[in-house]
């Protein structure tokens, strides 16, 4: 397999038709967030699984995308995200076009909780923008929307607030998006891998 020097393994694999689960990765971002912790692979010569989004490829590198350790980490990471994600796929705008569904399909994982406790807090959906809505209960905190808002749209309407389990994406002061500096350019909605940011049906 050929790849440009220093390119991150995740993008090389995807370009060559090898699927590695991922949510937070953005090819254009200068520094990977490495926060979703789903793109684990094992590389021969490295003792532990590593995230593909942070690993520059090198000559002769031997990578396993499916090993028992990788599968176990991906399964746990995926289940943890599901424990904090309001499921009800049938009612979701992103149904059949959702990255979580894709990961479940590719890796044979179930879209329901078995081992873990549900950790979903019932937070209201922000319906204030005219063209889209934001449902924090579906957000997986991948941060793609924040990155495009800051670096591509250059609006700066949203960011991460709070910490730990309370961490969420919000406008400054946690006001509804319509009261923020959001211009409703829609760039953030386009990159959301799940149904947290979704265009309203016309």
């Amino acid at each position: 397999m050929r790849a440009p020097e220093g390119e991150k393994l995740l993008w090389v694999a995807l370009d060559n038709g090898i699927y590695i689960p991922h949510l937070c990765g953005l090819r254009e971002a200068e520094r990977p967030a490495a926060s979703c912790r789903l793109c684990f692979v094992e590389v021969e010569g490295l003792p532990n699984p590593v995230t593909a989004c942070t690993l520059p490829v090198s000559e002769g590198m031997l990578v396993h995308t499916r090993t028992p350790r990788v599968d176990r980490l991906v399964r746990t990471g995926f289940e943890l995200l599901l424990s904090n994600h309001r499921l009800r796929c049938g009612k979701c705008e992103k149904n059949k076009n959702c990255e979580l569904q894709k990961i479940a399909r590719e890796r044979g994982l179930k879209l329901r909780l078995s081992r873990l406790r549900p950790l979903i807090s019932e937070v209201p959906v922000d319906e204030s923008p005219k063209t889209f809505k934001y449902d924090p209960g579906r957000c997986v905190l991948c941060g793609r929307c924040v990155w495009v808002d800051h670096h591509q749209a250059k609006v700066g309407a949203i960011g991460f607030i709070r910490r730990g389990i309370s961490r969420k994406i919000a406008a400054f002061g946690d006001v509804p998006l319509a009261e923020s500096r959001c211009t409703e350019c829609g760039e953030c909605v386009k990159v959301c891998p799940v149904g947290a940011l979704a265009f309203k049906e016309k």
């Binding site: 746990t76 950790l119 905190l141 991460f160 730990g164």
Partner: protein
């Protein structure tokens, strides 16, 4: 004259002035009051004021100085009196009354009040020294040696104790040679992970770029750990000297001390130290007349535990939220403002002047071959002599707990030590003879952490201890990565259910699996180590988890949901009524036969009656599993329970 000669000469003139100043102090009686945070909490400021008032109203020619912490925190406020003609004596648990006595009896009348004294500081014919007690035998003080004995707000005290001699020596040696010395010393980072300091410095020194930074990490946040605070409050110049040498070695011109805003006294004392160092050309342009320029800024952190993680610390200084980033790149290659940066813990930097002054071979001769030097522990919990102890690496836990710490309070049986704070683990009795160093602790599933050591006895429930630390890490998780944000919360919820008696048999294995995955999957050190308390308690105390889940019983009688209070009729005096008065919810009543008993449905398990019941009766007991409530009173139920 050569550049080296200028540096040495500049230092010698500083030292000469400092020695004259400090020697002058020794000509008259000197009172040193430990006013570090631990002393202040115990009332040292009132003691200080008493000494000042008494001495001034009696017109005595006595010098009173504030010093830092001598390490014997259990005996605070600690006062040292050095009067010519007497050995310097250390007094513990001094209050205003005792301070008055010391002034009239000792300072005026030459009676040293031996009945109040803890120990003498140097060998003499009249009174034992610290070295005559087990703690003094096993302690080997390097970085704590001057703490509590020198005035942290007067640079001359530090200089008179050979302070900044290492800096002068380093400036004469040249950076390459200093680096070799540190590498050869095998000094390992005292922040927790034990990474070789020399390698870190070398990576930064060799990294390309003209601008580099050094940072002192004083963001000490572990519950129960206070080593860095004590060092900064007691001997800030030692840290500054280490940081200046680090900067000189890697080629940095700007340094930072990242200290928590919750340590206001440490911040004040560092600020004073910086000003005094600048006045004496130990900081700023052309240090000691050399061509090396360097200055230090204080950055006050806002109390997020995760900011002790180096990438989060950097983000915080840069003005972003204190959230970690993926490593590599390591800060030594791309750190603050993407420039090569060395980040060292307070204690690591404190060793540097000693290594430069005494040579790396001296340092390697101390401790164990792979972890040379000493370890500083903050002894806390159920140990008699709490406080700061500096012991050789390789000292066993038994020595630390029983000799240095003087054993367990009330002579109760030892159960475990929690070592390394929320990133560390609980080690059982079988680990008591484990020689403590970075590697042995790692193998046992704990880690050195920053050095917190909490001693636990039979009254401490290991599931509850794990839950306590998970509660801490879960609240302190920044929330960036999946495993830490959601994984710690899942583990906390499971542990809470177990301590509340709602645990399920499969929970132990689930906890273990989750803990392993969170350790492997998390982004930064916080998440990677957060499962350690869970893993070690399951590994060494699985039977306690099983007792909670299978029998609804808390063996340590600690988990409130799993205990009941009861009054044993045979022990109750019938006549004293103290328990009734102590109960805030009127749950205790007098039976027809005058014995006391508890309404279980009213009892809020506040423990007041157990504390109140006079020791000659000890009639109040905790039982687990709890007595099943069938309404009514405890007495008939207790008999059912026992059957």
């Amino acid at each position: 004259m050569s550049a080296t000669g200028t540096i040495i000469q500049a230092y010698e003139s500083l030292k000469k002035a400092a020695v004259i100043k400090v020697e002058a102090l020794k000509q008259k009686p000197l009172v040193l009051v430990g006013t570090a945070t631990c002393g202040r909490a115990a009332g040292a400021l009132n003691v200080l004021q008493t000494f000042r008032d008494e001495i001034s109203c009696r017109n005595l020619d006595v010098e009173v100085k504030e010093v830092g912490c001598i390490g014997h925190c259990y005996a605070e406020p600690v006062v040292i009196i050095a009067k010519p003609g007497f050995p310097a004596l250390c007094y513990g648990s001094v209050d205003e009354g005792m301070a008055g006595r010391l002034v009239t009896d000792f300072l005026i009348n030459d009676d040293p009040c031996y009945e109040f004294a803890m120990a003498a500081l140097e060998p003499n014919d009249q009174f034992p020294t610290f070295a005559d007690f087990p703690r003094g035998v096993y302690e080997k003080k390097i970085i704590l040696a001057d703490c509590g004995l020198i005035d942290p707000e007067d640079i001359d005290h530090y200089i008179a104790h050979d302070g900044y001699a290492a800096l002068a020596k380093a400036l004469s040696m040249g950076p390459a040679e200093v680096l070799e010395e540190i590498k050869n010393s095998k000094l390992r980072g005292r922040g927790g992970a034990g990474f070789p300091t020399g390698l870190k410095w070398e990576a930064c020194r060799n990294a390309s770029g003209d601008q580099k930074y050094v940072i002192c990490n004083a963001d000490e946040g572990d519950p129960g750990a206070f080593m860095d605070r004590a060092i900064l409050e007691s001997n800030p110049h030692q840290v500054l000297e280490g940081l200046i040498i680090a900067a000189y070695t890697v080629g940095a011109e700007q340094g930072y001390i990242y200290v928590r805003a919750e340590y206001p006294l440490a911040v004040t004392r560092i600020r004073t130290a910086l000003e005094q160092a600048r006045e004496r050309h130990l900081l700023g342009e052309s240090i000691l007349g050399s061509n090396f320029n360097f200055d230090i800024k204080i950055f006050q952190g806002s109390g997020a535990f995760v900011c002790g993680e180096e990438t989060a610390l950097i983000a915080s200084i840069e003005g972003f939220a204190g959230v970690p980033n993926h490593r590599p790149p390591y800060p030594a290659h791309a750190g603050l403002h993407s420039k090569p940066t060395v980040i060292n813990n307070v204690k690591t930097l404190s060793y540097v002047p000693h290594i430069i002054r005494n040579g790396s071979d001296w340092f390697k001769s101390i401790g164990t071959p792979d972890s040379p030097g000493t370890a500083v522990f903050a002894l806390a919990g159920k140990v008699v002599s709490t406080g700061l102890a500096e012991v050789l690496m390789g000292t066993t836990l038994r020595t630390l707990v029983y000799d240095v710490g003087n054993g367990i309070k009330e002579d109760k049986p030892f159960k475990a030590v929690q070592i390394g704070g929320p990133s560390g683990g609980c080690l059982p009795e079988s680990a008591l003879d484990l020689p403590i160093d970075f590697d042995s602790l790692q193998q046992a599933g704990a880690m050195m952490g920053s050095g917190g050591l909490v001693v636990l006895d039979e009254d401490d429930c290991m599931v509850e201890i794990a839950r306590f630390f998970l509660d801490f890490t879960q609240k302190e998780s920044c929330g960036k990565c999946t495993f830490c944000r959601l994984g710690t919360k899942q583990m906390l919820d499971i542990l809470t259910e177990i301590t509340e008696g709602r645990g399920k048999p499969e929970d132990i294995d689930l906890l273990w699996e989750l803990a392993e995955d969170i350790k492997a999957g998390s982004l930064c050190g916080l998440g990677k180590t957060a499962p350690n308390p869970v893993l070690t308690t399951i590994r060494y105390f699985r039977h306690e988890y099983e007792a909670h889940i299978q029998e609804g019983r808390c063996p340590a009688l600690m988990c409130k949901e799993l205990i009941s209070y009861a009054i044993i009729p045979e022990k109750c005096s019938k006549l004293c009524n103290v328990c009734i008065g102590s109960c805030p919810v009127e749950a205790i009543y007098t039976r027809d036969d005058m014995l006391k008993a508890i309404y279980l449905d009213k009892c809020v398990k506040c423990n007041s009656c157990m504390v109140a019941c006079p020791p000659q009766y000890k009639a109040v007991v905790k039982v687990s599993p709890p007595i099943v409530e069938r309404g009514g009173s405890q007495d008939e139920q207790l008999s059912n329970h026992n059957n």
